[in-house]
Amino acid sequence: MTTMTHDETQALIQEVLEAYPEKAKKDRAKHLAVNDQSLEQSKKCIISNRKSLPGVMTVRGCAYAGSKGVVWGPIKDMIHLSHGPVGCGQYSRAGRRNYYVGHTGVNTFGTMNFTSDFQEKDIVFGGDKKLAKLIDEMNQLFPLAKGISVQSECPIGLIGDDIEAVSKKKGKELDKPIVPVRCEGFRGVSQSLGHHIANDAIRDWVIGNRDGDETFATTPYDVAVIGDYNIGGDAWASRILLEEMGLRVVAQWSGDGTLAEMELTPKVRLNLIHCYRSMNYISRHMEEKYGIPWMEYNFFGPTKIAESLRKIAAFFDETIQANAEKVIAKYEAEYQAIIAKYRPRLEGKRVMLYVGGLRPRHVIGAYEDLGMEVVGTGYEFAHNDDYDRTIKEMGNATLLYDDVTGYEFEEFVKKIKPDLIGSGIKEKYIFQKMGVPFRQMHSWDYSGPYHGYDGFAIFARDMDMTINNPCWKSMQAPWLKTADAESQTLAA
């Protein structure tokens, strides 16, 4: 089976849906679709950002994960307090590999876990006093922390603690920004609302801090990198390209970012946004309030990088535009060599993706540069506008799945038989045991960076070593092998 037709894919979806009871079938049918490039709007074929069905296995996270884990967590010189019981913070600690420079525990706090460790008495009598005490304690132990964000876990909202009042009072007392974030896990259907809440908290408590303060010397080439979380060093690999073009990167949001950078972002000329899903809200706000234009870019794979660099340069004068061409030309030999090396080994391989809110469409270009084809893609927590953008990137009659359940994903893989799956840690071992090569695409399977030209080299190497790993030929026990299969292995 090489490529499936529209009808075949539709039949596959129907077949998989058969296992569900009537009501669940009706609901899930809206989340599975066959891609049709002629559609302008995704809502005609797929429904997204809806509550997951109880009883099915979803891999979504919660609003706390979206706020603490994604948006706020990587800001390195602030302390992010997981306010509530100990588990939420501890089990998500340092899992996203947001790299940063600094001395952890002295002036940076990225991989540490701060929690108020709620006990029964805090739930019964309220935790506001504890929070106030904790803020004092943190300030005493870590005086170089530039600020504190209070990331609420579920119980805070349930018992109705007034974290805003405590934060305001303590913020005045310590003369540091203390940001209460109402990102209780039960809010919304996925981590996506957590991103929105976190963006709103930044808008209300951080963005305006330096309004009217003109002491920061600006240049006409100031940009901010928004929505790059520096996973495995991604933001660094992106940043050097922008700097080589002659732009000045004032702020990184939020991988390896600082509070001061965020406060200075309203002074830039252009916001470059990589993860649209998690940070479009703040970009829209800055466009409205400060008149800063924003654009989406994509630094996965040489084709998309060149496209994005030219698009970025178009916002500036001719020197920058000439520099963009120089940067593309400078790296050409490098990436051509990578394509020449890996493309013959990867040509024609078929990939299925299921990641968060950006990569299911952003990495398609990088796979295509290596001669691979993405035959199925889906998001955990995308909204309709993400699918609008995806339809054009994906081939016709490929499979789209929104918030796919464990059962559906397994069945799709059994039928489509891709050569590689890119998804998260929860799917990794299931598919590896099924004998399908797998890359963990949330945090690059402990590798990275994948952004930029430097990242593309690592990306190509990783895909090659996963797909062409000799272990996939040893999936069957030797005593179960038929003579026929044996000769095949020997020949290979």
Binding site: N49, H196, Y281, R284, E287, E288, H383, N384, D385
Partner: protein, 72 residues
């Protein structure tokens, strides 16, 4: 009466964005779109209609405005 952010996209069309509803649509027609007033009945590409009292002078986009549903 939702708060709506109106902004221009790359093609120059006006986009109608309701953050709370996570809805972004292109504006198809505006009743008054002249040098000194903007507003009135607004229809979107998804055929929904909205209303705002005409504003003069016209606002500069992007901006957030309060719209009424067309049938209210």
């Amino acid at each position: 009466m939702p708060n709506v952010m109106i902004r221009k996209n790359d093609a120059g069309d006006l986009l109608f964005y309701v953050a709370k509803k996570d809805m972004e649509e292109t504006i198809a027609t505006v009743e008054f779109d002249t040098a000194d007033t903007w507003g009135g009945a607004v229809t979107l590409t998804d055929d929904s209609s909205w209303y705002i009292d005409p504003i003069s002078p016209p606002p500069t986009f992007p901006t957030t405005l309060r719209f009424k549903r067309g049938n209210e």
